[in-house]
């Protein structure tokens, strides 16, 4: 019985992976830093690809990733790329987000996903977890964990997507 279950789960995951090649973002309601509700279906970047990064103020690799992108953000902005940073901080650390983000001078587009609804709907387990969305709003790449140098890898991928469109 268990073997059958396992096989089924594997089969579905495999079909899932094929289906995933270019799937749209789920429609969820999350909050801006000011507390306003927005729908994730409204995420877009004028037809250009962009990055969605799930992070938290207590997650060191997440802070490293955002700091690393921040240092080359001028280059990103020049080509019209942007980062949507969704904070998964819960009540304990949520109040830290606004002062930390402004205090560090980050210019990304920030949102709060306090109880993890959007995170779960994107299949995110551990943070940092970053997605690249193409101009048509489809998720084309994702990575989990952050290693120095990945910010350039993402920049290259974004440029490649821009050239293809």
């Amino acid at each position: 019985m268990k073997k059958l279950l396992l096989t089924l789960i594997l089969l579905i995951s495999v079909t899932g992976i094929f289906a995933q090649a270019g799937s749209k973002l789920p429609e969820m309601v999350i909050k801006t830093l000011e507390g306003r509700e927005v729908n994730t279906s409204a995420f877009e970047n004028d037809g250009k690809p962009y990055v969605i990064s799930f992070w938290a103020t207590w997650c060191r690799p997440c802070l490293k990733e955002l700091t690393a992108i921040d240092e080359i953000y001028e280059d990103w902005k020049n080509l019209g790329f942007k980062v949507i940073a969704v904070s998964t901080d819960d009540t304990r650390t949520r109040a830290n987000v606004l002062p930390m983000v402004r205090g560090r001078g980050w210019e990304f587009e920030f949102y709060l996903d306090e109880n993890g609804d959007f995170r779960r709907a994107m299949g995110v387990n551990l943070v940092p977890h970053t997605f690249i969305v193409n101009g048509k709003g489809e998720v084309v790449y994702q990575h989990t964990a952050f290693v120095d140098g990945m910010e350039w890898e993402m920049y290259d991928k974004l440029k490649a997507l821009l050239e293809n469109e």
């Binding site: 490293k64 830290n96 983000v101 001078g105 994702q142 990575h143 120095d148």
Partner: protein
């Protein structure tokens, strides 16, 4: 959910999956989506009596789970399969065996969203209701029932829910019902849309029912908690407050007293370009709230009372973490973040960030009801407490400063100092242990090397005369972007009073991550640690052995 039903469900998903594969070519289910994730943690335990590692008969222990979800046109369904063969050391042994403890179906149309089955939800800050999951801590108080979310007009959200909470692979005995209303005034009233003053108001009511079968006491079967919150934002200023009140709720948490409970949290922050200030104050009095009076540790909690202290991210600075005391505490927190400008003395060529933080938590002041009743005596109203007076016992105090800067194109570093006062007796529940005073210094530097390689090193030192004495730690991490990372670390308890316990905790690790998959393997000794969630800490015993971790998302 029995096996036959699951099989049918899985078959249905498989069929949908096949249709979805054809979606690009005009398949039957346009826009259908299948997604999920998977995590496995396994540990092979080696005996090690020096660090008092417990004997593990099974040798290998494993926790694993897999989420599988499907959505199409506003309709979503999903499930999670969990397996504990047996659960890793440090996890509650109630997690045993396999099962599907989480499954749901939800539908969204117009402005109404209906969820049947398991769901997670939070009202406001979670003071009276929060249902969430954290697999690495072993916390999951998912609701199993019905939830409705309705947004009648822009900016107004109404939520209603009813159900029972998850307890391992079963459910708690209590029934929980809740209702929450929240209004963002600037979104609802179009006349205020451009107003710089932004307001948000919210209110919640939660009540639980559990039968009274106790022969000694007349226990209330319905216990309700109420909360009101508001949030104000204008430019750089943000103020928010939430107040909660709970009626008599005698339970194992508060030693069966009939006192009501209340809590107040207030935060204020100023966030300007290059400068952030955060101030928070809170007071909690008897606000433990569970759907089973007899439950303890992380089980069946209905609400969430987070600690207002800084969460430390390094091994030694995180050795003495604070856990909220739901029976009563008062706390303050202040944090300042500034970006030191370029070319300034401390800012250097590229600017730097300095964060200074102070937090303190104290007991609340309790007065006995009368001469013959002890404070907190079972079956009585417990005590009275003056709202504005602090108690005599210091629970926790933390002063820390952190300086981080990019020194050059290839060198980035961070230095931090923390002075922590930790009431080990109260927080860990061992009265005979007193206060621990610890000075902790951390240095964390990353060198970027050619060919997308990087080397990171950490040096940490903890100095204290209590508990286990001084510790020193060194870590080296070599990464090859974007996939590989290798690390070697050693924590050395050189200051232990007992010479036999001056042990090195050496760990070797490697991890490979490609896209959304990550594999990591480590070998060595793990120091015993404390993981604290809310008001409860779990001791993770010391261990020695191999640890394998696999995570994947699709």
């Amino acid at each position: 959910m029995n096996k036959k039903t699951f099989l049918l469900f899985a078959l249905a998903m498989l069929v949908q999956g096949i249709f979805v594969y054809g979606q690009g070519q005009g398949g039957l289910l346009q826009g259908a989506r299948v997604w999920g994730n998977f995590q496995l943690d396994a540990q092979y335990y080696l005996p090690d009596s020096i660090i008092e590692a417990p004997d593990v008969d099974e040798k290998i222990r494993m926790n694993a789970f897999a989420n599988l979800n499907f959505s199409w046109q506003g309709f979503t369904m999903g499930m999670r399969y969990e397996s504990y063969q047996n659960a890793l050391l440090g996890f509650d042994p109630g997690y045993r065996g396999n099962g599907i403890p989480y499954r749901f179906a939800s539908y969204q149309q117009d402005n109404l969203e209906v969820t049947l089955g398991n769901f997670y939800e939070q009202f406001g800050n979670g003071m009276v209701f929060r249902s969430y999951v954290d697999h690495n801590l072993g916390v999951d108080n998912a609701m199993d029932g019905i939830r409705l979310v309705y947004r009648p007009v822009s900016g107004v959200t109404l939520k209603g829910l009813i159900g029972q909470q998850r307890l391992f692979f079963d459910k708690g005995p209590g029934i929980v019902r809740g209702f929450d209303a929240e209004m963002n005034l600037n979104q609802t009233f179009t006349s205020l849309a451009e107003n710089p003053n932004q307001w948000m108001l919210g209110t919640s009511v939660v009540s639980k029912y559990q039968r009274d079968q106790n022969p000694l006491f007349n226990l209330p079967e319905n216990v309700a908690a109420f909360a009101g919150r508001l949030n104000y934002l204008r430019g750089a200023l943000n103020l928010s407050a939430e107040y909660g009140y709970k009626v008599n709720d005698p339970s194992a948490d508060n030693n069966f007293i009939y006192k009501d409970g209340n809590a107040l949290t207030m935060t204020g922050s100023w966030a300007a370009e290059g400068f952030g200030l955060l101030l928070a104050a809170k007071r909690i009095d008897n606000m433990g709230f569970r759907s089973d009076r007899a439950a303890s540790s992380n089980n069946l909690q209905i609400n969430f009372l987070p600690p207002t202290t800084r969460q430390h991210l390094y091994s030694l600075s995180g050795m003495y973490p604070y856990a909220t005391q739901p029976r009563g505490e008062m706390g303050l927190l202040g944090e300042l973040t500034f970006k030191l400008p370029r070319e300034s003395f401390l800012g250097g060529a590229n600017g730097a960030t300095l964060t200074v933080n102070y937090s303190v938590a104290n007991s609340i002041h309790k007065t006995a009801l009368n001469d013959t009743t002890a404070i907190g005596q079972r079956g009585t109203k417990g005590y009275t407490s003056d709202f504005f007076r602090t108690g005599d016992t210091l629970y926790f105090q933390d002063f820390n400063a952190e300086y981080s800067r990019r020194f050059s194109r290839n060198l980035r570093g961070l230095i931090s100092y923390a002075y922590i006062t930790y009431n080990q007796g109260v927080i860990e529940g061992h009265i005979e242990k007193g206060m621990v005073y610890a000075h902790i210094v951390v240095a964390d530097f990353t060198h970027r090397l050619p060919n997308r390689r990087s080397l990171r090193w950490e040096l940490q030192h903890l100095a204290t005369q209590q508990d286990k004495g001084n510790w020193a730690m060194a870590l080296l991490e070599y990464s090859i972007a974007p996939q590989w990372s290798f690390s070697l670390s050693d924590q050395y308890n050189y200051g232990n009073d007992n010479k036999d316990l001056r042990v090195h905790y050496v760990t070797l690790g490697a991890s490979y991550s490609k896209n959304a998959n990550r594999f990591s393997l480590s070998y060595g000794r793990q120091r015993e640690g404390i993981i604290c969630v809310g008001g409860v800490c779990r001791q993770v015993p010391a261990s020695n052995g191999f640890m394998l971790s696999v995570t994947s998302s699709f």
